[in-house]
């Protein structure tokens, strides 16, 4: 750790992981409710448990991004953070607001929460992922503004690197597009149209800038590859992400009342959306192949590489699978959507957060990297979670294909609930895969409690096999 103030990232990472555990526990609850319909009914109905599952995901990813930014920006800007105190104050405001909101979900009927928080004066609740009371949304805006101010002031007085600027652009975009969460007209088509300006332009827009910057930072630090090369890749990746992703919003405008020409705009541009993810995977492999050093934190590199691969599979391949309008006509709002959502979020945004946590936390605790045993346990966590999530995705895909066929494609379509019963086997297997994922998470968390350190001096120097590979490393040779 080069600057003392980077340490404010620590509480953000701890809270992120705690909320991650809550997210997975509620994921297991709703996974069980899919097959045991009256599980915890009526105490915790499915809609409440699902809201906890998705909202804790969003909050912990934001916590992770914030922690990552507080760690990364001072190091990139080569200066102490503008105000570490403000960072800690906003952390507690954010955590308490998130905690109260989730407690409100669980302890009160949702309609009562809406009434208590004055939803009728400015109705924004009850829309997917944006279920938070309006006052919580205002709190999020305040926290994010303080966060952007703090980072902005830090960057202004320090070195302006491409990684720092791209991260800031992504975070500013995150703040700007969240504002559409406050617009909720009675006209459902307009409501849905603008709702996607937050949801799509976050996850298939500005969040990709955040992801790209975090990945570039980790690769620069762990591989020692020249910054110029990494930054050029970063620009190409985020250029493709936004060029395809902005108009790619159109793949959500097929069936919600918007004009028919979106079938074309959405299909063409979103068919190109896998490209930036493909490049991101190539980028990660190339940088690691061209590495000038063997970093002692092997598991952080595994997370970075895994993130690039799984993001390509989840966002790229599984996204492409159902993005063309003629396919989406049948798959829209089915378990195919759920399959894609799980692998894309896990691969892109969960794994990049786990990667930066894996890289930065040992350093903040005064180690170059965790000891061999801790890294081995963490790798078990990596593989159990990765395989668990791939199984969840494959099983939901199988469930989705059957659902689409039985309910929408065959000559004698069956009703929703009849079909759900017929595909219950896949939901059972998905639940077991979820348990496997949870065990992986426990391994991951346990690895933090294993003492020991690996130092850079313990590592072998990079050996070059072919002449071509050795060119970038000649300086070190």
């Amino acid at each position: 750790m080069k600057y003392q103030s980077q340490k404010v990232a620590m509480p953000y990472f701890v809270a992120a992981l705690a909320l991650f555990v809550v997210q997975i526990l509620f994921g297991l609850i709703i996974g069980a409710q899919y097959v045991i319909g009256d599980f915890l009914f009526p105490e915790i109905p499915f809609n409440i448990a699902r809201m906890v599952h998705t909202n804790t995901l969003i909050v912990w990813l934001l916590m992770g991004f914030m922690g990552a930014a507080y760690y990364l920006i001072p190091e990139e800007a080569e200066t102490e953070l503008h105000s570490p105190l403000l960072a800690i104050v906003t952390f507690w405001v954010f955590l308490v607001a998130a905690g109260l909101t989730i407690a409100g979900y669980l302890l009160l009927p949702y309609a009562r929460l809406a009434e208590l928080t004055g939803n009728q004066y400015w109705p924004t609740m009850g829309r997917e992922f944006l279920e938070q009371p309006t006052i919580t949304k205002i709190g999020i805006v305040v926290v994010v503004l303080a966060f952007l101010y703090n980072l902005g002031m830090t960057i202004l007085k320090g070195r302006k690197t491409v990684v720092g600027i791209v991260l800031m652009l992504g975070l500013i975009g995150l703040a700007v597009f969240f504002l559409f969460a406050f617009y909720n007209p009675v006209n459902l088509v307009k409501d849905k149209f603008w709702w996607w300006w937050t949801v799509h332009l976050w996850v298939e827009g500005v969040w990709e800038l955040i992801l790209g910057a975090m990945l570039a930072f980790i690769l620069i630090k762990t591989t020692g590859v020249d910054r110029e090369i990494v930054e050029k890749w970063l620009y190409v990746i985020i250029a493709l992400a936004l060029i395809t992703g902005i108009i790619g919003t159109g793949h959500h405008y097929y069936w919600i009342g918007t004009p028919t020409y979106w079938l074309w705009w959405g299909s063409i541009f979103s068919a190109l959306e896998p490209l930036p993810f493909f490049l991101m995977a190539v980028f990660a492999f190339q940088m690691i192949n061209k590495r000038r050093r063997n970093h002692p934190n092997k598991v952080a590199m595994l997370w970075a590489l895994g993130c690039a691969v799984m993001a390509f599979l989840g966002a790229g391949v599984w996204g492409f699978m159902h993005t063309l309008a003629p396919v989406n006509y049948y798959t829209h709002g089915s378990q195919i959507t759920a399959a894609h959502g799980h692998l894309a979020f896990y691969g892109a945004y969960v794994m990049i957060n786990l990667a930066i946590i894996s890289y930065a936390v040992p350093i903040m605790r005064g180690r170059e990297a965790n000891g061999a045993k801790a890294q081995r346990v963490e790798m078990w966590g990596f593989w159990l979670m990765a395989i668990g999530m791939i199984l969840i995705t494959l099983l939901l895909t199988a469930a989705g294909v059957l659902q689409v066929y039985l309910q929408r494609y065959t000559d004698a379509p069956m009703s929703f609930m009849v079909v759900q019963d017929k595909i219950a086997l896949f939901y059972w297997l998905r639940l077991y895969s979820g348990l496997m994922f949870f065990v992986g998470l426990l391994f991951y968390l346990y690895s933090f409690f294993i003492p020991g350190e690996t130092k850079a001096s313990d590592m072998e120097p990079v050996k070059r096999i072919s002449e071509a590979d050795s060119t970038p490393a000649t300086a070190n040779a």
């Binding site: 409440i48 829309r127 006209n187 250029a239 929408r408 929703f416």
Partner: protein, 150 residues
């Protein structure tokens, strides 16, 4: 990547490409809002009419009870319970059928099975929700869903 393709070129593609496609997206957004009156069934939403007020109240109830936490509406939401964008048509173009279903849900659920909670809505509230769902079924969705089952 080759020497001619420098970091500056990549940067310019990023800023230029983003600006161009965002402006194009804004233009399409503008055009979409010009087209919407023909498609979005807004004539029933007039807030000066009783029906318009009912639908607005229905949408509010829809949101404040987090219906989207289980159901999809025009394919968006959760996938735990049936699609409701066409429920009015599925119930033989009847708001009464929708109201009766919501009203009849058992308080303690159904053993071993998924069941919608009992929300204890008043008749007026039930009617508002049903009118909201009827309004949604009148939106031109490019013929989605593929059939009555949603």
């Amino acid at each position: 990547m080759s020497q001619a393709f420098t970091k500056e070129v990549a940067r310019n593609i990023f800023y230029g490409g983003t600006a161009f496609f965002f402006l194009l997206f804004l233009a399409l957004t503008f055009d979409t809002h010009l087209e919407l009156p023909k498609r979005d069934n807004r004539q029933v939403l007039d807030p000066s009419t009783e029906l318009g007020q009912k639908i607005a109240a229905g949408k509010m109830l829809w949101e404040e009870n987090n219906c989207l936490g289980c159901h999809t509406l025009l394919g968006e939401g959760a996938y735990y319970a049936p699609e409701l964008g066409n429920v009015y048509v599925r119930y033989n173009n009847s708001t009464m059928g929708i109201m009766a279903f919501i009203k009849s849900r058992p308080k303690d659920g159904i053993p071993g099975r998924r069941s919608m909670p009992q929300f204890n809505f008043t008749d007026e509230e039930l009617e508002a929700i049903a009118e909201f769902l009827k309004y949604v079924s009148g939106i031109d969705t490019n013929d989605w869903p593929p059939n009555i089952q949603g």
